[in-house]
């Protein structure tokens, strides 16, 4: 049993200082417990100022390789709102479609490659190739399907290029729409097999009730658009986010901490499922039941299952969206709507795979950005992650230091945090390096 702990975890495979976990405990009393995050969207906020209205979506799509569609659309929606642009139904359906598949890309990556190795006790994805090859193959097939969907609609599998303010520079063809529908339908056997595998995983029995924030919509399981909903009982228009969501810079991190009704809140798949369970497809609801995911759910580790349930919903809903677009008749003349540049302020709120994402821009009359504020989901979750760790540590204190370290990392990983996505530098050791 640990009386004193001094844990510091720095991801060795990334640039030093990105995403450190620090725990100091003396005589079983927590003295320090922090997640130190140097990442900040403030560089991008400053970079946007003075840019032409056509640029922010392309710049901000590069903030993150995994959330590039979400940043693209938070940005596009902010600009369209500021300039009074109203996308037509076909555009909205196509946007929802591409949104689903960034969510599938990201959720599949997290559930299969990052979280599953923890629960299967193999440390990383590599041993899975020998111990559970089916998991790796399923994951790669599903990831490829989602990549192809994003590529067909967005022009590229990451950092989409056809997605612009006012619509799409190029629409998928009717043949491609049918091709996407077939790809989606062929995913079901892999999803069924995944369910059987995931059902064998044991989630730690940790619960801490908190406030859950997501967007919500009266018809849809909201990812692309909606009002902001709190599990504490309020719903506000997305343009009014500042009336509820507050942020501050904390000393130990350049990432901002956020709060709303309480001192912390959670965003992400679990928050979405908690707030919008009734809008999931029936199939997804059945999967949730099979996995023991009942709402409201206060176990952060269940975020992993919530992500998988969202994959099911995304596949189901995408087929419906494609059929609806085809039924209406894919109309190339409706690929764009007019944009009349004017001064104004607009807020774009979407669900990135890991939670609520907010872009808030003010434009002058020539269409240049005067001011930008971005709030990213991982910043929203920081305070909640620390509160979870403070609550979880006493429950696992009888374990060894190594086990505590591992359990804490698992808890942080359950949030699927976007900590070190911005860089890609490699540190390598070469054989016979001279």
């Amino acid at each position: 049993m640990a009386e004193n702990l001094n844990i510091e975890v720095t991801p060795i495979s990334r640039v030093e200082g990105h995403g450190d976990l620090v725990i100091n405990m003396k005589n079983r009393k927590i003295e320090t417990l922090i997640l130190r995050i140097p990442e900040s969207p403030r560089f991008f906020e400053a970079m946007l100022v003075g840019r032409n209205w056509t640029e922010p979506s392309h710049i901000t799509s590069r903030i993150c390789g995994i959330c590039s569609v979400a940043h693209t659309y938070a940005s596009i929606k902010a600009t369209e709102t500021a300039m009074g642009v109203k996308p037509n139904n076909q555009l909205i359906k196509l946007r929802k479609l591409i949104f689903h598949h960034e969510c599938v890309q990201s959720n599949v990556l997290h559930v299969y490659f990052l979280a599953a190795p923890d629960f299967l006790g193999v440390g990383s994805v590599f041993p899975l190739i020998e111990t559970n090859p089916e998991v790796v193959n399923i994951a790669l097939r599903l990831k490829k399907m989602a990549n192809d969907m994003v590529r067909i609609i967005g022009g590229r599998a990451v950092h989409p290029i056809t997605t612009v303010v006012g619509g799409f520079t190029k629409l998928p063809t009717e043949d491609e729409m049918y091709q996407m529908r077939d790809m989606l339908k062929s995913a079901y056997p892999d999803l069924e097999k995944s369910l059987k595998i995931l059902k064998t995983l044991k989630m730690p029995s940790f619960e801490r009730e908190t406030e859950y924030l997501s967007i919500t919509d009266k018809n849809d399981y909201a990812l692309y658009d909606g009002d902001i909903k709190s599990s504490d009982g309020w719903i506000i228009n997305d343009q009014d986010y500042l009336t509820k969501i507050k942020e501050k810079v904390v000393q130990h991190s350049t990432g901002k901490h956020c709060w709303a009704s309480r001192d912390s809140f959670m965003v992400g798949a679990l928050a979405r499922v908690n707030n919008n369970f009734d809008k999931l497809s029936d199939n997804a609801k059945n999967y949730a039941e099979e996995l023991g995911l009942k709402v409201p759910c206060y176990n952060t580790f269940m975020n992993n299952f919530a992500q998988f349930v969202e994959v099911i919903h995304s596949v189901d809903d995408s087929i419906k969206l494609i059929e609806s677009i085809l039924d209406d008749g894919l109309d190339k003349d409706k690929a764009m709507v007019d944009v009349k540049v004017k001064a104004g302020r607009g807020v774009g709120v979407v669900e990135a795979p890991r939670g609520l994402l907010i872009h808030d821009y003010a434009y002058d009359e020539t269409g240049k950005v005067l001011k930008a504020n971005l709030i990213i989901p991982t910043n929203m979750n920081y305070a909640n992650i620390e509160k979870d760790m403070q609550a979880y540590l006493p429950q696992i204190i009888s374990k060894s230091e190594d086990e505590i370290r591992f359990d804490m990392e698992m808890l942080i990983r359950a949030y699927d945090p976007c900590i070190s996505c911005s860089t890609h530098m490699l540190n390598v050791k070469l054989i016979n390096n001279k």
Binding site: R62, S124, H424
Partner: protein, 172 residues
């Protein structure tokens, strides 16, 4: 030997298939020297260096990690450009095949908090999955990896050298 499409030389080996190359730049152009891979691809495009080659595809890989597995499909040879620390000096270029990378052991592997799979892990995955691949990595040790949309002068200076290495690789 790879011949440009518009060459006047008539090959006597027309029946020999040319190797298909994918040249992939990784990194984030808004994280200082981390963006060197993308900058190299941009520069190759700007100079139209491989425009006449029907066997060369240029890809901005961004920070997409695991997607490399799909990018290497349908290619005989892959050249990756990235910011790399292999123990060399800042600005120094290294070139190696992925088979030359020391294999990870569980002890020195740590996957804390990453939401994408590290590129090095992907190399190992490619090897483990025994995907048919001949992957060469060309990297330069960065000086600054922090928010910023410019390369350090020391790294910017190396772009021509990196491009020469790529041209040698493709043309020989």
């Amino acid at each position: 030997m790879i011949m440009p499409k518009n060459t006047n030389i008539i090959s006597t080996k027309d029946n020999v298939a040319k190797a298909n190359y994918k040249i992939i730049g990784f990194g984030n152009i808004y994280m200082g020297d981390d963006g060197v891979g993308i900058r190299v691809i941009e520069e190759i495009r700007k100079r139209n260096l491989f425009n006449d080659y029907d066997n060369v595809i240029l890809i901005e890989g961004g920070t997409s990690g695991i997607d490399l597995i799909f990018m290497i499909n349908d290619s005989d040879k892959v050249i990756i450009i990235d910011a790399i620390d292999a123990g060399q000096d800042i600005g120094e270029i290294v070139r190696f095949n992925i088979n030359d990378i020391e294999h990870y052991t569980k002890d020195n592997f740590k996957s804390f908090s990453l939401h994408d799979v590290n590129l090095l892990d992907v190399f190992n995955l490619i090897k483990k999955l025994q995907l048919k691949s001949d992957i060469t990595v060309i990297g330069v040790k960065p000086k600054v990896i922090d928010y910023g949309d410019k390369l350090s002068p020391e790294i910017e200076d190396k772009i021509n050298n990196i491009i020469s290495l790529i041209q040698n690789e493709v043309n020989n």
